[in-house]
């Protein structure tokens, strides 16, 4: 198995390689998260809101790419939802990858890929476009 000589090092623009998969992060939509969701947006039915999939995506994006520099900017977002349903209590498996990077006008633009599954069903795909700080 290849060894990651950079494990524990800061994720900088220089290190990013298109096609790299940072990991598959399990996000449990447990009772605690349901309560926190309710504190922000109010109670829901047992069906998982689309927004909670996005929140799971953001948690996975943060957890998968560590340590990271301070000051990254989440600039834009693409999302596509499938017909598959998710419910509170499900574990959402979020795959985070590096799609592309581009240095433009002195800024480090990075596009991350997201795929979210519940069981075998794909529930959401998307891309996060960020301006990386370092």
């Amino acid at each position: 198995m290849p060894q990651d000589d950079h494990k524990g090092d800061l994720w900088t623009y220089e290190r990013f390689q298109p096609g790299h998969v940072f990991g598959v992060i399990p996000i449990q939509t447990d009772a605690g998260k349901r309560a926190d969701w309710g504190r922000v947006f109010g109670p829901t039915s047992d069906r998982l809101p689309r927004g909670m999939l996005v929140t799971a995506m953001m948690e996975a994006y943060i957890r998968a790419i560590q340590p990271r520099p301070d000051g990254n900017v989440h600039a834009s977002q693409e999302l596509a939802f499938t017909e598959a349903q998710a419910n509170w209590g499900d574990t959402v498996l979020v795959t985070v990858s590096l799609v592309a990077k581009e240095e433009r006008k002195g800024r480090y633009w990075v596009r991350f890929g997201i795929e979210a599954h519940v069981g075998d069903a794909q529930v959401m795909t998307g891309t996060i476009r960020s301006i990386w700080a370092a």
Binding site: R39, S76, A80
Partner: protein, 120 residues
């Protein structure tokens, strides 16, 4: 089908931001620590951008349910200071819907497009 999304509003506050930090595991002090935020260009804590995006998704879901095939493409265009009220909505266009989240002063904090039943 409706020509306008069902609008939803949210008045942000510190407790809500703390709950969203726990929900998303995003404890960036820019959102939570007034002393830290005072040292930044924002001057005071700002709400998580994804919280405004979630409000938009709630408005989309309130309007159409979860049919599948929803394609959303948005940009974050301005910060939301904790304490400000935001409203999510949208209007039909030739291509789908122009969607937005805006503050009470009219500043759009999210702008983008929604297509339904589309291949993204």
């Amino acid at each position: 089908m409706t020509d306008r999304l069902s609008e939803l509003s949210l008045t942000t506050n510190a407790e809500m931001t703390a709950a969203y930090a726990a929900l998303s595991n995003d404890y960036n002090p820019l959102h939570l620590d007034a002393d830290f935020a005072a040292t930044t260009a924002f001057g005071q804590p700002i709400a998580h951008g994804a919280m405004a995006l979630d409000l938009l998704l709630n408005a989309i879901e309130a309007s159409f349910g979860q049919p599948g095939g929803e394609c959303l493409d948005i940009r974050f265009t301005a910060p939301v200071k904790v304490g400000e009220r935001i409203t999510a909505g949208g209007e039909r266009t030739d291509e789908g819907f122009a969607v937005w989240v805006r503050k009470d002063d009219g500043t759009k904090v999210i702008q983008g497009t929604l297509k339904l039943g589309a291949v993204c």
